[in-house]
């Protein structure tokens, strides 16, 4: 079970066709259908080779291309001049391509509007909220040294007698990673000190700490604090998961 990568380059079959048309400097209204069919299929092959997931729509279009191609190869039907001009088998495809192209251009224009608007800041936008989520207090990301400092404090606070119990319990970093991940789903903010409060042994504290470091490395969590030496807060690294969305007020 390998990973399937979704090819973002070509959003869909129409996109790929437009790309090929542009690349080969073809005339959209007069597409050499066998040439483009061949190239289209070659692209699908490469995508397959790279083990990219090919959306069903790509295959539907491949079939459509081959249908058009075969219709062009057939001699024109000997029919009474009822419909004076039999429609070019490519016509429907051309219409769709042009229609799609129109909206692609329109989308580009929207993108320009977006960029322009991003140059402008308003009162309390979503971004500012991110800077100071609760009550307008600013946070900064906690560095590794702050973490270690906090850690050593926890270690020092451990009651001595408990140290003898080490042998009894075993904690793995992996377990702790899972534990933290579970906790952080239900609680938006974990406090560093709280996390260690119920730790029963030095080994458990160490495992927890290593788990935090590992989760930071994996970009699953972020740590921050309001002020230097303040309690460290642990949060889910939501930025990685999903882009920030402006809150609807």
């Amino acid at each position: 079970m390998g990973y399937k990568i979704k090819l973002e380059l070509f959003e869909g079959p129409l996109d790929l066709l437009l790309f090929l048309i542009k690349k080969e400097e073809m005339d959209v209204t007069d597409i050499p259908i066998s040439q483009i069919t061949q190239q289209y299929l070659e692209y699908l092959e490469v995508m397959q080779l790279l083990d990219l997931e090919i959306a069903g729509e790509f295959l539907v279009m491949a079939a459509e291309l081959m249908r058009i191609k075969s219709r062009l190869l057939l001699p024109p039907e000997e029919q009474p001049a009822e419909e004076l001009e039999e429609e070019d088998p490519r016509a429907e495809l051309v219409r769709r391509l042009l229609e799609y192209q129109k909206f692609k251009e329109a989308a580009k224009r929207l993108g320009n509007f977006e960029s322009t608007r991003k140059e402008v800041f308003t009162r309390r936008t979503g971004e500012i909220l991110n800077l100071s989520e609760e009550g307008g207090e600013a946070y900064f990301e906690t560095g590794i040294f702050d973490l270690i400092t906090a850690f050593s404090k926890v270690i020092q606070r451990l009651p001595k007698k408990i140290l003898y119990e080490i042998v009894k319990d075993e904690f793995t970093v992996e377990e702790k990673i899972h534990e933290i991940l579970h906790l952080i789903v239900t609680e938006p903010v974990l406090y560093f000190s709280k996390l260690f409060e119920k730790a029963k042994s030095r080994l458990e504290v160490v495992a927890t700490f290593l788990a935090i470091l590992e989760l930071i490395r994996l970009q699953e969590i972020v740590v921050r604090q309001k002020a230097l030496f303040d309690d460290i807060e642990i949060l889910r690294n939501t930025e990685k998961v999903q882009p920030k969305v402006k809150e609807n007020s």
Partner: protein, 211 residues
């Protein structure tokens, strides 16, 4: 009751204060609820004046007409410093598929998912969901055809997000037509493959167009 001739200045100050505290664009009617004695044309005039005042004063703030209202924003000239201050990069932009889908909805609304998919040639279910979550589009009802599919349209947030005062500010879709007319006029009757190689040498460009 001070003299009403000079009130214009104080009206502007009131509006300025309203715009300052507002997080989203303020419609004229909303200002009218505060300045009860004024009709909307008077308010509009005052806002426009205020807008001009800001422009001529070259302040770092400007007043923009956005999403059917007025909004105080920073001047784009200061984006660089603000980004630095807010510790943000250029910010997440909408993806290509999102923009395409939005463009189709903006111009074709109200529009069903099937209609969008026909134009884009791909499934847009996920994109629509994301756009709904972002509040950029809204469900406007159902189309009275078999299956009664949902109809989508753009929201007020859409206008705000793109800094548009109204949908009419979007360039007409015809502007994006490039070779469109050519198509209607001439779908060449001789397919470039298969048939009629004999014709190719003859100079019949003019012929081709007629049909």
């Amino acid at each position: 009751m001070e003299d009403s001739s000079g009130s214009n200045e104080s009206i502007k100050r009131v509006i300025e204060a309203l715009l300052f505290v507002s997080e989203s664009p303020v419609p004229i009617e909303r200002i009218g609820l505060v300045l009860e004695d004024l009709d909307s044309s008077e308010i509009r005039k005052a806002v426009e004046e205020l807008k001009n005042d800001y422009e001529t004063a070259k302040r770092s703030l400007v007043i923009q007409e956005v999403a059917g209202g007025y909004q105080m924003t920073t001047n784009p000239l200061y984006a660089l410093w603000l980004r630095k201050f807010l510790k943000k990069t250029h910010g997440e932009k909408l993806s290509g598929p999102s923009l395409e889908t939005l463009a189709i909805i903006a111009y074709k609304q109200p529009v069903t998912r099937q209609e969008i998919e026909f134009i884009r040639g791909v499934n847009v279910e996920g994109v629509l969901k994301a756009l709904l979550e972002k509040g950029l589009i809204r469900i406007q009802g159902r189309k009275e055809i078999i299956g009664r599919p949902l109809l989508y349209g753009t929201s007020r947030e859409f206008l705000e997000y793109f800094g548009l005062s109204a949908l009419e500010e979007l360039p007409p879709i015809e502007e994006f037509v490039q070779q469109g007319e050519q198509l209607e006029a001439s779908l060449p009757e001789d397919s470039s493959e298969a048939a009629t190689p004999a014709q190719q040498d003859t100079q019949n460009e003019s012929k081709e167009i007629t049909s």
